[in-house]
């Protein structure tokens, strides 16, 4: 029951004329131990676009997304929502970028650290300087958006993997970002959980960058894909085209 949506049929498919909200040129990064993790990455993301990021383990995908909100700083040009990110970017500018580009981490347990779900989801908005009441209101709206309103008073460890994932997403949505970056969002989700997440993400207006190994999930959500190889983007194109070219689904070969 695989459905491959036709990309051309999407009414909201971005026109190439719109200015990118993420622009990366010649990004290089070397880990302190000397490993060259990124070796000249060029990448654009336009408003409303959903792009899948494929690549083998260790090809630089996660390192790449950690650069987009300044958690790692390499050499090269990065601009997010009109803000340059480099070694000189000050804390205020970074705070603004982090409010606009929301990162959902692979391991939800590492993102949910507050004692209750509501407090955790309100963590981002209160860091943005909202009052406790405003932050709570934002958090409730975001929880409602992901269908987790009933869990507001619960402790994170009482949630299932799928629920944790949705709460982690709410924690980022509560900051009202323009861009969502999701690192392996389908990990440890059962098929109904994956369908649920897919439905949820499809209804979001944000531009989405989806790092994943799951070719089917990516094909159902993304409009375009890039393929990382040894710290570079080796190819980009339509999702099915990329997965077939690199034999990137279970059925291929």
């Amino acid at each position: 029951m695989k459905s491959v949506p036709s990309i051309a049929a999407r009414p909201d498919a971005p026109s190439p004329a719109r200015k990118p909200i993420v622009e990366v040129r010649g990004l290089r990064y070397r880990y302190p131990d000397g490993t060259l993790a990124l070796d000249g990455v060029d990448f654009d993301l336009r408003p409303g676009e959903r792009v899948a990021v494929f690549g083998a383990n260790g090809s630089g995908k996660t390192t790449f997304i950690l650069h987009l909100n300044g958690l790692l700083r390499g050499e090269g040009f990065i601009e997010v929502c009109g803000r340059r990110i480099d070694r000189d970017t000050n804390a205020d500018a970074l705070a603004e970028v982090r409010a606009r580009l929301g990162l959902v981490f692979q391991n939800s347990d590492e993102q949910l650290f507050m004692p209750t779900v509501l407090e955790d989801v309100a963590f981002g908005p209160s860091n943005q300087g909202l009052s406790p009441e405003e932050a709570s209101a934002r958090a409730r709206t975001a929880l409602d958006q992901v269908g987790m309103s009933d869990a507001a008073g619960k402790a994170p460890y009482h949630l299932s993997a799928g629920e944790k994932r949705r709460v982690a997403l709410a924690g980022v949505l509560a900051m009202q970002p323009e861009i969502l970056v999701l690192d392996e969002p389908t990990t440890s989700l059962d098929p109904p959980g994956q369908r649920e997440l897919l439905r949820l993400l499809r209804h979001l207006p944000q531009a989405i960058l989806l790092v994943t190994h799951d070719a089917d999930f990516a094909a159902s959500l993304a409009t375009r894909a890039v393929f990382f190889e040894r710290g570079r983007i080796a190819a980009e194109g339509e999702v099915r085209e990329i997965t077939e070219r690199f034999h990137w689904s279970r059925e291929s070969e």
Partner: protein, 241 residues
């Protein structure tokens, strides 16, 4: 599968007169009670009985299970054994008994507060009572990740058990010890990596080093009354008995 703290966590979400009190009142009462217990002179068994009776009454009002609470508090005894043995050796059994009583009663009192106060309220109370922020944060993270790390330790133990047999000879035992030491090492390294990831996730949501301060709930008359009577009871036992 969960460890002992899961029970305390479940109890803390119960409903009772003690549960509904302000967490700050309970924290202050606890500190006073601990001071009273700690300063009790060695030759006064009636005082220990008084404190014990007071705590039993509180357990009753909190609708907590007596036997399970006493058993959990007794978990501290192996840890105080070293000091008890030293006291016995240098000054005889009359010096050892108060140490056993003090450590047991102190842990029972702390357990009672933990088992009758939801974790988030307890943390808020600490912050509102001006406990240094770093200390509250360390406690908060410890509480949150205790579950994650114990879960991981249990999984590692199961994985190890399913690959090794039962220890029968001394050689096997030393192999088991080796495996356990390795597991602890992995757990430690993993926790350190996890700390990095958690910090990244916090920074990604705009964390700048300051946590939003909790808002103070109103301190009701009944909270004040509880605080007054618990301090009065602790002092009465400590000074009068």
């Amino acid at each position: 599968m969960r460890g002992a703290h899961a029970h305390v966590e479940r109890w803390s979400r119960g409903a009772s007169p003690l549960h509904s009190l302000d967490a700050r009142a309970k924290m202050i009462a606890l500190v006073v009670l601990l001071a009273a217990i700690a300063t009790t002179p060695a030759g006064s068994p009636w005082m220990f009985c008084g404190f014990f009776a007071l705590l039993l009454a509180a357990i009753f009002f909190a609708r907590l299970p007596f036997v399970a609470m006493l058993a959990r508090a007794a978990l501290v005894l192996p840890f105080s054994a070293v000091f008890v043995a030293m006291a016995w050796w240098s000054a005889g059994p009359r010096a050892a008994f108060p140490l056993v009583a003090k450590s047991f009663l102190s842990v029972l009192a702390a357990l009672l507060v933990a088992a009758s106060t939801p974790w988030p309220r307890l943390l808020d109370a600490l912050a509102l009572l001006r406990v240094p922020r770093p200390l509250v944060l360390v406690t908060q993270f410890l509480g949150r990740y205790l579950f994650v790390v114990t879960e991981q330790a249990l999984q590692m133990r199961r994985a190890a058990q399913s690959r090794q047999g039962v220890a029968r000879k001394t050689k096997d035992l030393s192999r088991h010890f080796h495996a356990a030491a390795g597991a602890v090492g992995v757990l430690f390294a993993r926790s350190s990596e996890r700390a990095d990831s958690i910090y990244h996730a916090m920074v990604a949501r705009g964390f700048t080093g300051r946590f939003p301060a909790p808002t103070a709930p109103p301190f009701a008359l009944r909270d004040a009354a509880f605080l007054f009577f618990s301090i009065a009871a602790a002092l009465a036992i400590r000074l009068a008995l």
